[in-house]
């Protein structure tokens, strides 16, 4: 074993040891910090076996997770798939935490470990630390402690109230997990000082714009009385509220304190993962771009020999492979492929732009600093806005993207193809398809019949006639009714015509 840094070389053999891994990491770090300018959390690389990888899979990627049958189900399924050879395991799992935890599997060769370290410990890590959504919504430093708390708390609840009782609440909370996310920062309640300041500002504004003429205007609005009653009730209950779990946690009348805490835990986890849902393509693109750059540089430096380079290229190309729409392997757009292609494209625009690029991207074309440009993009965008901003005509042509309109009964119509007339339409439609808010139903709690039977009223605003999956909706509503304790009604109304399309009702189960 040599100790001279310069003679270190990653070869394609399958044997590796911790010392080699450490030195590979150091070489990678030099490139990542020096050339790409990445800013990362300290990383903790954990070597695990394939069985432990399956464990990590099943608990949705968090190293600590409370106990629930659904994780056992996921484990059983993944294990069956893996043992029968239907699927292979991921090379790594990376956790948005500080320090950033990266799981790597012992079976992989040193070249693959280098790839994984570059991909996860630098690419993903940088994205986690810098992207605005993650900064605003997740607490990388606290997540592991919080999960530790959640795990022990739920275990204690199981001891005290029984596994079934806990399971019932968790099942319901999981069913509503996607509706347990706050998309906008909640308004803070005002403190006295703030209130006084606003009041004096308002008075000053009124004095400044005083005009006696306003007094002479007639007082219209006769229908005000009835509306304000609803408005008052909504205000008191904080409605409309799109975060159903939050509403239940705070307002459901019959829940016990520990049940509220369970809802809160599930809600926090949903919120923690929400940025990942919105930035999957960018996140993977960032990591793939990073590992591609680093591995190429390592090869140029001679730290990665030709065999290892070929091994890397083999797995890289299969990761970023995008089958055509008519290919049997096609299953939608590969986020790795799109993200990587867009970032490579931005690099090209920065370094050697065409006239078209200069017209479309005057801000960045030819600025000769692709890495700074990308770093800014990684901070400020999410998938949807990133596509809206940076998908170039050149890339649309390269991928031969086209847009199809499907009205669910007649023939499909090609709306736009990769030509001058189609670029903007394609870009906008693709951005929409990556928009989590557009992909998920627009559900809100709108009212509670406080003077009647306390029925909870939910509304789903249906866009483009895309309704809820009715079988699932009924089941979820049963869960919701169980938590609320009274009847629940979900109304689907058309967003444009306000017409009621469908109504679901559920009541809590009669306890015998």
């Amino acid at each position: 074993m040599s100790t001279i840094g310069e003679s270190f070389c990653i070869t394609s053999g399958s044997e590796w040891n911790f010392d080699q891994l450490r030195r590979a990491h150091d070489h990678i770090e030099r490139i990542a910090r020096g050339e790409l300018g990445l800013d990362i959390y300290p990383s903790q690389i954990e070597v695990i076996t394939s069985e432990q990888m399956l464990d990590a899979y099943s608990s949705i990627g968090l190293p600590l997770m409370y106990r629930h049958w659904s994780f056992g189900k996921r484990f059983a399924r993944d294990e069956a798939l893996y043992r029968n050879g239907y699927s292979s395991l991921a090379y790594e799992i990376v956790i948005n935490s500080n320090p950033c935890i990266v799981y790597i599997m012992e079976e992989n060769s040193l070249a693959m470990q280098a790839l994984v370290v570059a991909h996860a410990a630098f690419g993903h890590n940088h994205f986690f630390k810098n992207n605005g959504l993650f900064k605003q919504w997740t607490d990388a430093g606290g997540i592991l402690d919080y999960m530790e708390f959640a795990k022990t708390y739920i275990a204690r609840c199981e001891d005290r109230h029984g596994e079934e009782a806990v399971e019932q609440v968790l099942d319901a909370a999981h069913a509503l997990m996607n509706q347990g996310v706050s998309r906008y920062p909640r308004r803070r309640s005002l403190d006295l000082q703030e209130e006084e300041r606003r009041e004096s500002e308002r008075r000053a504004e009124e004095e400044r714009t005083f005009n006696d003429l306003w007094r002479t205007l007639p007082e219209g609005q006769a229908a005000r009385g009835k509306r304000s009653e609803l408005a008052e009730r909504q205000r008191l209950l904080g409605l409309p509220e799109e975060n159903i779990l939050y509403f239940l946690e705070k307002k459901a009348p019959l829940l016990k304190p520990w049940q509220r805490e369970l809802l809160r835990i599930v809600r926090h986890i949903a919120q923690y993962f929400y940025p990942q849902k919105q930035t999957r393509m960018m996140n993977e693109g960032c990591a793939t771009f990073t590992h591609y750059h680093i591995m190429n540089r390592l090869h140029e430096q001679g730290t990665l020999d030709d065999g290892a380079m070929l091994e890397f290229l083999h797995s890289h190309t299969s990761v970023v492979f995008q089958p055509d729409f008519d290919d049997p392997r096609f299953s939608g757009i590969n986020p790795y492929a799109l993200g990587f292609a867009m970032m490579q494209d931005i690099k090209r625009i920065c370094l050697s732009p065409t006239a078209e690029d200069r017209a479309w991207f005057p801000d960045i074309a030819g600025n000769a600093d692709p890495h700074a440009t990308l770093r800014e993009a990684w901070v400020a965008y999410r998938d949807e806005s990133f596509i809206r901003q940076f998908l170039s005509p050149a890339l649309i042509r390269q991928l031969k993207l086209f847009e199809v309109h499907d009205d669910s009964h007649s023939d499909l119509v090609v709306e736009a193809i990769h030509n001058e007339r189609g670029y903007r339409a394609i870009r906008s439609a693709l951005a929409d398809s990556f928009d989590v808010i557009k992909r998920e139903p627009e559900l809100e709690i709108v009212d509670v019949e406080l003077d009647g039977d306390r029925r909870l009223l939910l509304q789903n605003r249906v866009h483009d006639g895309i309704m809820l999956d009715d079988d699932d909706a009924e089941r979820v509503l049963d869960h919701l009714a169980m938590l609320w304790g009274y009847e629940v009604r979900l109304v689907e109304i058309d967003a444009t015509s306000e017409k009621v399309l469908r109504t679901f009702d559920a009541g809590p189960l009669e306890v015998t």
Binding site: F18, R22, P42, Q44, I45, V47, T49, E51, Q52, L54, S59, W69, S70, G72, K73, F75, A76, R77, A80, Y103, E163, E167, A175, N178, Q322, P323, D324, D326, D327, P328, F330, K400, L401, V404, H405, D406, D407, S408, H409, D411, L412, V413, V414, A416, I417, G422, A429, S433, R439, E440, P441, D464, I466, M467, L468, D470, D472, R475, V476, H479
Partner: protein, 430 residues
């Protein structure tokens, strides 16, 4: 950067989740297990693949339906479409190659692997050995040593160092045995005084005397005295019998067809499996009989045929002989299962019943009589042997009798015999 080796972390992190999952899907898994066992039997090791309906495992979400409404898709790989082209709708809503996800299918049925232990646990759930508790308390298999405090004599291997040293320390403190450091300090002091040569003779003499006293005390008071020594004490605790022997008695005369033997074999297998989960060690004795009975090995027991008359009592006598020779009832839990088509030489019935009643049943934990019949038989009247045994059963002795005609009846009959629910167990045979 920090590299941590987690490979040696305890395994089975998701075991608790798996147990919850199995509990959740218990009913469906049980059905699947029964079905699988009817299909393959429960022979052989290895894991069993189980396929269950995923209904109780469904995790519903409020999500948009997969179909309906107006949608816009952006897809890659345009070959020759231009704006305004119409593409015929692919059949059955399989939106242009988007159907490959398979998510919808995996929700309908859920497939996973049960380990052999889990399988057997579920398979034999709710079954128990009749009257096992009573027997276990009464019968013991030797004794097992268990820690029980300390004693002052014993083998060196059982020396309890901690207890011994504690005694030694307290005794040394009580008897004011000087510690080696104290002696060393005094020696050093004395040496320093002598070297300096300034100290008075008197002081030196006093110090020397004190040192001498300390040394003497230290010699007299032993560091470890025999009275300090303690040994771990063990008590022999009687251990309940955890060995079982299972007698398989089978009629192999010409009237037993291959089908009947197959039925018997299946029953024996179940019984063996069941016993081996309850007892540490299970031995099997195979006794086959025509008009003569012989103890044979498994191979011969099931395979070769023999011709001759049928005298059941010979088998019972042979069992009695083996019992007496090798399996004293104080040490063994004894089970027996007899399979026969019910044929017996009429003159022998009374004798067989007598042997059974007087010699076999008192020794046995449980005696199961399985009357196997041809597959197509539906109204087989009761045989001589059946009637004879029935009289004993009515007398309340530990004998259970069932008739089996078809392979599919084996498992239900077995469950009936060993059901935890007494009412089911004692239900009169059909």
């Amino acid at each position: 950067m920090n590299i941590v080796d987690r490979r040696l972390n305890p395994r089975g992190k998701s075991l608790a989740n798996r147990q919850r999952f199995l509990r959740r899907a218990r009913k469906q898994i049980l059905e699947a297990v029964r079905e699988a066992s009817a299909r393959d039997g429960i022979t052989g090791g290895g894991n069993s693949r189980i396929r269950i309906k995923a209904d109780s495992l469904r995790e519903p979400r409020l999500a948009p339906a997969a179909e309906g409404g107006e949608r816009f898709h952006v897809v890659p790989g345009n070959k020759d479409y231009v704006e305004g082209d119409r593409i015929p709708r692919p059949p059955s809503g399989e939106g242009r190659g988007r159907g490959g996800s398979g998510d919808g299918e995996s929700e309908d049925a859920f497939q996973f692997v049960l380990s052999r232990e889990e399988f057997i646990d579920l398979f034999l759930e709710d079954l128990e050995l009749p009257d096992m508790l009573r027997k276990e308390l009464r019968e013991t298999e030797g004794t097992t040593p268990r820690r029980a405090g300390y004693q002052t004599s014993g083998a060196a291997a059982n020396l309890n160092l901690v207890r011994t040293m504690r005694n030694s320390l307290s005794r040394r403190i009580a008897l004011k045995r000087p510690r080696p450091e104290e002696i060393a300090a005094r020696e050093a002091e004395l040496a320093a005084l002598e070297r300096s040569g300034e100290a008075e003779q008197e002081v030196i003499a006093r110090l020397t005397l004190e040192l001498e006293q300390q040394r003497r005390r230290s010699r007299r008071v032993a560091f470890i005295d025999p009275i300090d020594v303690r040994y771990n004490r063990f008590e022999n605790v009687p251990r309940p019998a955890s060995r079982a022997v299972m007698f398989c008695l089978m009629d192999v005369s010409g009237s037993m067809t291959a089908h009947m033997k197959d039925l018997a074999k299946r029953f024996y297998k179940l019984l063996y499996l069941f016993l081996s989960r309850r007892y540490e060690r299970v031995e099997i004795v195979f006794i086959r009989h025509t008009h003569l009975a012989r103890e044979v090995d498994e191979e011969t027991f099931f395979s070769s045929t023999e011709s001759g008359g049928t005298v059941v009592s010979t088998a019972l006598e042979e069992m009695q002989r083996v019992l007496a020779a090798r399996y004293p009832r104080e040490q063994w839990n004894i089970y027996a299962a007899q399979a026969s088509d019910g044929d017996n030489m009429p003159a022998d019935n009374a004798h067989a019943v007598a042997v059974l009643q007087n010699a076999i049943l008192p020794a046995c934990q449980y005696f199961a009589y399985l009357e196997v019949g041809p597959e197509d038989e539906r109204y087989g009247g009761s045989t001589e042997l059946w009637r004879a045994y029935q009289r004993i059963a009515k007398a309340g002795l530990p004998i259970a009798m069932r008739k089996v005609n078809h392979r599919s009846q084996i498992y239900p009959v077995f469950r009936q015999l060993f059901s935890r629910d007494r009412a089911v167990r004692t239900e009169a045979p059909a």
